[in-house]
């Protein structure tokens, strides 16, 4: 394994320290338990808290700041945070308007956030994001939450900033989550530092369709085909789920898993945009880059969100985080 680290044990702490120093105008870092809050948590508003295993950066720490999250709880790499992280983070940012947890639907995340919510004696609501359409809708655990989580966080973040109450935030978030579908493909495994070698073997002419974001194998291996065929496959699954009509406005998000050059991500975006434009769908907003990563995995996911006026307004609203910034 080749990593620029000092030790597997200190990696997370050192990395969080660097993040907090680099963005000290935006965030504050708490140790034991680990969580990141906005530099200023005083605003009386619904507080949004997300979190999950590390290794997906900039998700979620890089999305803490004005117009988006109030706190993020990073677990060890690919390991859900413990409930005490969410508990103390919630107590730290609470301003009397309630806490909204935004949780990617993975057993570990769901259970740990659930325990935290049970332990808290302030009003909480939870939005479960389950946007990965590589799994059938009736999958035994529900679908996984993947790159669409960022879109929920941005739109609900803007609503909370604008003063929406806890119920309104929850309803909006669920509407966005239900309007969002994603699917990913991996060209390589990633290497979890604590393991020291790639999580899975993959043939030099093989790809994994339908991967989550924890460097795990996908639903099915297949031969490496052209970008057009890969995009066709991903997009048609998403399209079958959301069924955007001609004239429908959408947000198209192409997300890199960490080791894929931006050139390829833009190429995938080009093909995906064409796919829906040919159906008369309107690519109203777009986002291309490495946002929900799996360490050094090569590959990407495509996410589509059906937009309405309210969502567009909140998507466009000012945001000031380490990874997303506009309007200010």
């Amino acid at each position: 394994m080749k990593k620029m680290i000092n030790s597997v044990e200190s990696l997370l702490e050192e990395s969080l320290n660097g993040f907090a120093t680099a963005h000290r105008d935006i965030v504050r870092l708490n140790h034991q338990p680990n969580f990141v809050t906005r530099a200023d948590s005083s605003k009386a508003k619904v507080k949004l808290i997300s979190g999950g295993g590390s290794g997906h950066e900039p998700l979620h720490t890089g999305l803490v700041g004005m117009g988006m999250l109030d706190a993020a709880c990073p677990g060890q790499i690919f390991t859900s945070p413990g409930p005490d992280q969410m508990l103390v983070a919630a107590q730290a940012v609470d301003a009397g308007k309630g806490i909204l947890f935004i949780v990617k639907n993975y057993a570990g995340d769901v259970m740990n956030f659930e325990i935290a919510a049970e332990m808290l004696d302030i009003p909480t609501e939870t939005i479960l994001v389950a946007d990965d359409v590589s799994l059938p809708a009736d999958h035994s655990t529900g679908r996984r939450g993947v790159a669409g989580t960022l879109i929920v966080e941005k739109i609900v973040g803007a609503a909370a900033e604008a003063g929406a109450n806890l119920q309104a935030c929850k309803q909006l978030g669920e509407r966005v989550a239900q309007s969002t579908a994603s699917m990913g493909v991996a060209l390589s495994s990633c290497t979890v530092p604590a393991i020291g070698k790639p999580t899975f073997d993959i043939g030099s002419n093989e790809i994994e369709m339908g991967v989550g974001i924890h460097g795990e194998r996908g639903r099915e291996p297949m031969d490496l085909v052209s970008a057009s065929e890969i995009v066709e496959k991903l997009a048609s699954h998403i399209d079958a789920e959301l069924k955007p009509a001609a004239g429908q406005r959408v947000l198209l998000h192409v997300n890199g898993f960490g080791a894929t050059p931006l050139m390829e991500l833009y190429l995938v975006f080009d093909l995906a945009a064409q796919y829906w434009q040919e159906k008369g769908v309107i690519i109203e907003r777009s986002l291309v880059g490495n946002f929900t990563t799996s360490l050094d995995m090569a590959g990407c996911s495509i996410t589509l969100t059906l937009l309405d006026d309210e969502m567009i307004q909140y998507w466009d609203a000012p945001v000031h985080t380490a990874a997303l910034r506009w309007g200010c």
Partner: protein, 212 residues
């Protein structure tokens, strides 16, 4: 129940050694059909327990269980952290009202396993740690009810744990990360089922040794 029959520190040390001895195998099981972090999560949890085991030895068993549960939750994280954590927290609560007998302990263990089922919304046959824990707990409860001697009960429990763990190999997973792989998960033992079995066996071995 208040006094510890065998020091917890000794059990923890043994469990930790046992997991370390099977480190590579466990890492590979979670890498094959999970995300590869189970070994590390568990080692982090066990290292924490070991670092506070002197303190644990001084506590009533029920308080010690609660403390173990809270520590596992916060240091392990992941699915297994919340599950093992919930189990010990529940065992801590239950142990308050139970005598330190085989019957009492088997009730405490069974309550812990029930809390995993509740927290994970899972049951036997879903290719998880429960495929080890449920049969092991049932075996112990049954033997305790029938007055089977401690040592025999424990080795029955070990056998049930092993059979349960092995049964996960050919299962389709319907809970946990392995469920995402569909048919591809078949042929692999579940990591949590294996570590649960290893830990139960290590504890039973140690108790048997201690009693001889």
């Amino acid at each position: 129940m208040s006094e510890q029959a065998i020091p917890l520190s000794q059990l923890i040390k043994n469990v930790h050694q046992c997991i370390n001895a099977h480190a590579e195998e466990v890492a590979e099981l979670d890498a094959a059909i999970g995300d590869g972090d189970h070994l590390n999560n568990l080692q982090r949890g066990l290292a924490t327990l070991e670092s506070m085991s002197a303190e644990l030895d001084q506590m009533p068993l029920s308080d010690a269980f609660s403390k173990i549960g809270m520590s596992l939750m916060s240091t392990m994280g992941g699915a297994s952290g919340s599950l093992f954590g919930s189990m010990f927290v529940t065992m801590g609560k239950t142990a308050k009202d139970q005598p330190l007998t085989l019957v009492g302990l088997s009730e405490v263990f069974s309550a812990g396993v029930e809390s995993i089922k509740a927290r994970g919304k899972a049951d036997i046959g879903e290719k998880t740690m429960l495929d080890t824990l449920i049969p092991a707990s049932q075996s112990l409860q049954q033997d305790a009810a029938n007055g089977v001697p401690l040592e025999t009960s424990l080795s029955h429990m070990q056998q049930s744990a092993i059979t349960g763990m092995e049964s996960t190999k050919d299962m389709l997973a319907t809970k946990g990360r392995a469920s995402f792989l569909g048919e591809r998960a078949r042929g692999h033992i579940d990591a949590g089922a294996r570590t649960s079995q290893l830990m139960l066996c290590a504890i039973a071995d140690e108790v048997i040794k201690y009693n001889n």
